[in-house]
């Protein structure tokens, strides 16, 4: 049944029976803050956004319909391609790094180390702080001449790159910066690892399984739902990266860190091209949806859920 059909049926059902009617009204009433907000701030704007993306809309003059011109222009805009490239590289490098490093730390912490709560605080702390203050901190850390990063590299005899002012290094610099927050995923992994029943490992040991066999046959499958969750969250987050690029590099040098959201922000709020920005938002939306869908579709191949027989084959 369509969304509208279901909603209509629900409204019709509301009128049946006086006791359930009271209960129904009460339920809807308590849920109404969210429902009203959803209509005003999400569903309404989404519909409006479809229309706006089909208009030429300089903010101060109002919209005029121009069909799919915005979308045609998108495919010829070199900066769009550049921003898609930057955002894609950033996501495809930083997300796997986050997934793997976070997992490794969690594995280390899961072997009954002493002072677990202290380690957790230390590793999670950088993931809590974020935003502009942290962006400034990293701008200073990645300073080519006096920065902490190049000092640490010099300790092991490496002459560090110019990071933020070198177009070949600027994006890598932002990826390094993102790794500071690796502890966020670590906590989720740790919770997952602690949820694996020890009986599984004991059974495997009796069967003579070694460390690696246990790891591949028990740990990885049991952790796959967590991995899946972090992958989806990671994709959504990374594709919307904005603050670092805006504050630290402002898209430069040579558009090497022109993230998609930064380009969208400029079109909407600096060039005031609302229609074009709305079309850009739909492109980003489509991109995020395609990637997430691929992950969801592929999940039946690699995500194992207990009590689900698909994974037992």
């Amino acid at each position: 049944m369509s969304v509208a059909g279901r909603a209509l049926k629900t409204f019709v059902d509301l009128g049946i029976g006086s006791r359930t009617r009271r209960e129904n009204l009460e339920g809807w009433l308590w849920a109404s803050p969210w429902i009203i907000g959803f209509v005003i701030f999400t569903a309404g704007p989404m519909v409006a956004s479809v229309y706006l993306s089909l208009t030429d809309y300089p903010l101060l003059q109002g919209p005029t319909f121009n069909g799919i011109d915005n979308y045609k222009q998108l495919f010829t805009d070199e900066l769009i391609l550049q921003s898609l490239k930057v955002t894609t590289i950033y996501s495809f490098v930083s997300i796997p790094l986050h997934l793997v490093i976070g997992f490794l730390i969690a594995l280390l912490l899961n072997q009954r180390v002493r002072g677990l709560s202290m380690w957790r605080v230390v590793y999670y702390l950088p993931a809590v702080v974020s935003g502009v203050a942290v962006a400034f901190l990293w701008q200073w850390i990645l300073n080519a001449d006096f920065g902490l990063a190049n000092w640490l590299l010099s300790l092991i005899g490496i002459d560090g790159p110019s990071w933020l002012i070198d177009p070949n290094w600027a994006l890598s610099a932002l990826i390094v910066m993102s790794l500071w927050g690796v502890g966020g995923g670590m906590l989720i992994y740790l919770a997952g690892l602690q949820g694996i029943p020890t009986s599984l490992y004991e059974a495997a040991e009796i069967d003579g399984a070694n460390f690696w066999q246990k790891f591949w046959i028990i740990t990885i499958p049991m952790m796959s739902p967590v991995l899946f969750f972090l992958l989806v969250i990671g994709i959504i987050g990374a594709l919307q990266t904005f603050t670092q690029a805006y504050i630290i590099t402002n898209g430069g040098p040579d558009d090497a860190t022109l993230f998609f959201m930064l380009h969208l922000y400029r079109n909407a709020f600096q060039y005031l091209k609302m229609g074009y920005a709305a079309a850009m938002a739909w492109v980003l939306f489509a991109y995020i949806m395609i990637l997430t869908l691929l992950v969801f579709r592929s999940s039946s191949l690699w995500v194992y859920y207990e009590g689900d027989f698909k994974g037992r084959g």
């Binding site: 629900t10 509301l14 339920g27 809807w28 308590w30 849920a31 803050p33 969210w34 429902i35 009203i36 907000g37 959803f38 005003i40 701030f41 999400t42 704007p45 989404m46 409006a48 956004s49 706006l52 903010l59 730390i105 072997q111 180390v113 380690w119 957790r120 605080v121 590793y123 999670y124 702390l125 950088p126 702080v129 935003g131 502009v132 203050a133 901190l137 701008q139 200073w140 850390i141 001449d145 006096f146 902490l148 000092w151 640490l152 500071w180 989720i188 949820g195 967590v226 972090l230 919307q240 603050t243 504050i247 969208l264 909407a268 709020f269 609302m274 709305a278 938002a281 980003l284 995020i288």
Partner: protein
């Protein structure tokens, strides 16, 4: 025969196996501590670097290799803090106050509306509940950019540009609350339904059940919501950037960009910039240290159930 020998050997082999395992474990643990310590060092040193930079003089800042020990390698300049925070073009006190007002009001809205809505999903029976809840969950996945431009135009038409309202009102109406609603619903469902029935027999209404029974029993979950909400609003940058355009209205994140003026191209006042940035982080750090429990709990619920 061979069979019995094997069985007789078993305890011995088992002991060997345990012994070697114990040795392997000690080795593995030592190695783990070394790796963990190294990792912790890498994660913590940026904070130390931030603190030491913030109390350096202009000459000490530009030393390479950097100086680390205040009082020995360089004189600590605590005046950097008042100097950084009391500038005419960047009134830090006003930024702080604005951030406080926005955060308090947005948080209040987010906690109250999430709790009320979650209560409806967890404890009330109504037609369409499952369907609406499904849509709530679907919005977690929805990138907010699609609604950005129309929302901006909506707030502009309402005359809300350069006011705090766009940063507060949506949160009273459930925007961005989907995850909190989910989290609270899971928690509310654990409160036994018998309590509701008993209260109803005693003549309690729905509101009393919500306020007197479910809420007090769900304080840990509310704490988790409060803390994540606090961090989000305290750090809010993107929407502040779009909606606030007078310095007197800026929040901290936006106000900090005012400090960039003196570092952007002519890099000079990193010490002052670090002093201001660190001051902006202090409330977040304090909340984190005093309420770690709630963070961890929130993460655990989200990760395992997600």
């Amino acid at each position: 025969m061979a069979f019995t020998t094997k069985a007789a050997d078993a305890p011995v082999r088992r002991a060997h196996w345990r012994e070697s395992k114990r040795f392997g474990n000690t080795f593995k643990l030592t190695l783990s501590y070394i790796v963990l310590t190294f990792g912790a060092f890498l994660l913590i040193i940026p904070f130390i670097w931030m603190v030491t930079t913030s109390i350096k003089g202009p000459v000490a800042v530009m030393q390479f290799p950097p100086l680390w020990i205040p009082g020995v390698q360089f004189e600590p300049l605590w005046e950097n803090y008042p100097t950084a925070l009391l500038q005419d073009h960047a009134p830090f006190g006003i930024f702080f106050r604005n951030t406080f007002v926005i955060t308090a009001l947005a948080m209040a809205g987010q906690i109250i509306s999430s709790a009320v809505v979650a209560f409806s999903f967890a404890r009330l029976r109504w037609k369409g509940r499952e369907f609406v809840f499904f849509i709530v969950l679907a919005t977690i996945m929805l990138p907010q950019q699609v609604t950005l431009v129309p929302q901006f135009i909506l707030f502009r038409n309402l005359g809300w540009i350069n006011t705090f309202l766009p940063l507060i009102v949506p949160f009273w109406l459930g925007v961005g609350n989907a995850f909190f609603i989910f989290l609270l619903r899971q928690f509310f469902m654990r409160v036994p339904l018998d309590y509701d029935d008993a209260a109803r027999i005693d003549g309690a209404g729905t509101f009393q059940i919500f306020w007197r029974i479910v809420m007090p029993l769900s304080l840990p979950a509310l704490g988790t919501v409060a803390i994540f909400s606090f961090i989000n609003h305290w750090n809010e940058f993107f929407h502040a950037l779009i909606y606030l355009n007078e310095i007197s209205k800026y929040n901290l994140a936006l106000g900090l960009t005012q400090f960039r003026g003196f570092t952007r191209y002519e890099i000079s006042a990193w010490n002052l910039l670090m002093a201001a940035s660190l001051t902006a982080l202090v409330p977040v750090l304090l909340v984190f240290f005093f309420a770690q429990r709630y963070f961890i709990q929130g993460i655990v619920i989200s990760g395992v159930k997600g």
